[in-house]
């Protein structure tokens, strides 16, 4: 009896080891498997599954698996995959420069055919370069505007939309006085997307994060910007505690609930409101406010497809990428993502006729972009997300701390 059980324990152990290895061994020969990790704009998994199935039907020797990951975790996920030797073939997310700097990526002209590359909007392709060579293909873009709740403004008796900081401050005070229970401006400086809120405010004061080959996060303009935001917060013209207010769960949710009058919103905000309980908000938009005497700007944000060399699937990647950019497939991609600005000229021509997108497309030439071509940008973005909220306590100190991180980043 004893012997039998001992043998069975050995068998169980062997089975445990075997099962750990067997999982990987069953692969059909001659079929190349492309692995892609994609950010979740809206509900993207059904779209990608469907597209991948269509692609394999047309190309039976290539199988594509797309893993859709939320924006909050995609950077961590991709980094973990690379660090553990499971590098994906294609990634769709918000940055590329660090991977380009480390030589992990195919060039844009290796990723897609010349025909597809020629169709990409030049401005966006320019923002996809590292040391003058494009290492990513833009997938779509967004621009920002100042959105407002028309009903609240009407109640407060605001007739003219503010265009400068001074005017905005006055209007916010007016709302606070006349419409109790509403936060005049929703200011999300929590980690999720703080770099966007910071960049567009700073841009309105002529401030940037990177200039002439140097990080300039603690520039005079940026300190002034954060000091102004501190002033708004101190007067309770924003929701309390912007430092822990994330864009989606806090600021946009307050706005959707009719509890905030103004918000810095991206081109996809109207669609988001519809899906998240804000369908009844009487929405208006205008260009974002600038400091007195400064030019108003918009913040352009673009995301990317990147292709990794690690698995050597260059030919298959090109086929897949070209397939994504085929006009009908690309239109479906934009539709699934929900209300973004297209990255191709052909789709852009259609979008320019769309009344929801047209004003944003017009704004793009004057847009400022993140310094996404800098290898250290992901680290700098992380530092801004982490610490910019503390600038509401002490602008200079917080910006100095971020500047130090930016200079130390590899």
């Amino acid at each position: 009896m004893k012997k039998v059980t001992r043998v069975s324990a050995l068998v169980a152990t062997t089975a445990l080891i075997a099962s750990a290895f067997l999982g990987n061994s069953a692969k059909a020969a001659d079929v190349v498997e492309l692995k892609m990790v994609a950010a979740d704009y809206a509900n993207m998994q059904p779209f990608w599954d469907d597209l991948a199935a269509k692609f394999t039907k047309a190309n039976p020797t290539i199988k594509v698996t797309v893993n859709v990951v939320s924006w909050e975790t995609i950077d961590d996920k991709v980094k973990t995959l690379i660090a553990t030797g499971q590098t994906p073939d294609v990634v769709n997310k918000g940055d590329y420069s660090a991977a380009a700097a480390e030589g992990l990526l195919y060039r844009a002209d290796e990723m897609v055919s010349k025909k597809t590359l020629d169709d990409i909007v030049p401005t966006f392709l320019n923002n996809s370069k590292y040391n003058g060579v494009a290492y990513a293909v833009p997938d779509l873009a967004s621009a920002r505007a100042l959105f407002y709740n028309k009903d609240i403004l009407k109640k407060a008796g605001v007739t003219k939309l503010p265009t400068t900081w001074t005017e905005l401050e006055k209007v916010l005070k007016q709302i606070k006085a006349k419409v109790p229970g509403v936060y005049p401006y929703a200011l999300p400086l929590g980690p999720e997307e703080a770099q966007a809120e910071f960049s567009i405010w700073a841009g309105g004061n002529g401030g940037v994060t990177f200039k002439n080959g140097k990080w300039v996060i603690n520039s005079k303009e940026n300190v002034q910007t954060m000091t102004f935001l501190k002033k708004l917060t101190d007067q309770k013209l924003t929701q309390p505690n912007p430092a822990k207010c994330d864009r989606t769960a806090c600021a946009q949710t307050l706005f959707a609930a009719g509890k905030a009058a103004f918000i810095n919103g991206s081109v996809f905000l109207p669609g988001w409101l519809k899906d998240n309980g804000g369908a009844k908000i009487n929405l208006g938009s205008g260009s974002f406010v600038a400091a007195p005497g400064k030019k108003p700007v918009t913040l352009g944000v673009q995301d990317y497809f990147t292709a990794y060399k690690a698995n050597g699937h260059k030919a298959e990647i090109t086929k897949w990428m070209d397939f994504i950019f085929e006009p009908t497939n690309y239109a479906a991609f934009l539709k699934a993502a929900g209300g973004f600005i297209p990255a191709t000229k052909s789709a852009g021509a259609n979008a320019a006729k769309d009344p929801a997108l047209a004003p944003f497309i017009k704004l793009l030439p004057s847009a400022i972009f993140y310094p996404g071509d800098q290898a250290a940008w992901p680290a700098v973005k992380g530092a801004i997300q982490q610490q910019i909220g503390t600038a509401l306590a002490n602008p200079q100190k917080a910006l100095d701390a971020i500047q130090a991180k930016a200079e130390a980043a590899k």
């Binding site: 001992r6 980094k79 973990t80 309390p240 430092a243 992901p378 503390t390 130090a404 590899k410």
Partner: protein
């Protein structure tokens, strides 16, 4: 024949413990080894190794401006959470040990926060404490304790206290059950004897029960020290260690260095330092338990 028996016994318990050994090797020893190896490597922002870095990562870590405050906070976190967990668990265990109808239900209900996933519990607490929709605010307003809702997690010190409250809340079940196990080993005749000798309930607890509980208290304290020190989900779910680094412990800081500052090497160095701190804890535990045995 005797030779075969010898062989068999030499193989001994190995077949039985082999699965456990393999699990430990794969899931504990190997990751720990990889972590320490990574801490001596220069790792790029994408997660790729660029070769050996010597002690550079440790050097950068020591110069990290946020490290000092985070270490102090980690100390407060560990000591505070473990202390209050123990203090509260003692009477809870007493309650679980007492005989009354419905004891089973009470025992079950105390197990729940322990059985639930930490991320789940933390998410629930995050919403309980929410400034706009939190149920704690609702209750406070309904009971006329407050006129308007407040943000319980606004002030960094206050939110750190709330994090500790949640950590104590999730640590109590395990701790009180360890103490309960200790209580059930105390023979009733000793207590009865003390009553016969005229000891009051409190005196009997103070001089009989409590000293006999020491071994289980000890085990509970040390396991809690390790658990609380390594605790990640509570802080991450509720505040992400923010704003800035104001509610971080070394565990969440290690994560942030890796995934916000994009410095995997330095993060591994932080994790290795954490590992050393834990080893010191375990060393102290072994030493103290030896002393206990000798006493």
């Amino acid at each position: 024949m005797s030779g075969r028996t010898m062989n068999k016994s030499r193989l001994g318990a190995l077949p039985w413990i082999a699965p456990a050994i393999i699990m430990i090797a794969v899931f504990v020893v190997w990751p720990a080894f990889e972590m320490i190896r990574t801490s001596f490597q220069n790792v790029g922002a994408t997660g790729q190794s660029k070769g050996w870095a010597g002690f550079d990562n440790y050097h950068t870590l020591l110069q990290n401006p946020d490290l000092k405050n985070v270490l102090i906070r980690t100390f407060i976190w560990v000591v505070g959470v473990v202390f209050f967990t123990m203090i509260i668990s003692l009477p809870v265990a007493q309650l679980l040990n007492a005989n009354y109808p419905g004891r089973k239900v009470v025992r079950w209900s105390i197990i729940v926060p322990w059985a639930a996933s930490l991320v789940m519990t933390s998410t629930a607490w995050k919403w309980i404490l929410d400034a706009y929709y939190g149920v704690l605010n609702e209750i406070a307003i309904d009971l006329h304790l407050r006129k308007e809702s407040i943000d319980w997690l606004a002030d960094t010190k206050q939110s750190f206290i709330w994090l500790m409250v949640v950590a104590v809340f999730v640590s109590i079940p395990f701790t009180s059950f360890v103490i309960l196990a200790g209580l059930s080993t105390i023979p009733n005749d000793i207590k009865e004897a003390s009553h016969v000798d005229g000891a009051t309930s409190w005196k009997s607890y103070r001089h009989i029960t409590f000293p006999l509980l020491k071994p289980s208290l000890f085990v509970a304290a040390v396991i809690n020290l390790i658990n609380v020190f390594n605790s990640f989900p509570i802080i991450w779910v509720i505040t992400q260690g923010g704003p800035g680094y104001e509610t971080d412990t070394t565990t969440t800081l290690a994560y942030k260095i890796s995934f916000r500052d994009q410095d995997v090497g330095q993060s591994a160095a932080m994790a290795a330092v954490n590992f050393v701190i834990i080893l010191v804890f375990i060393g102290l535990f072994l030493k103290a338990s030896k002393n206990q045995e000798q006493n």
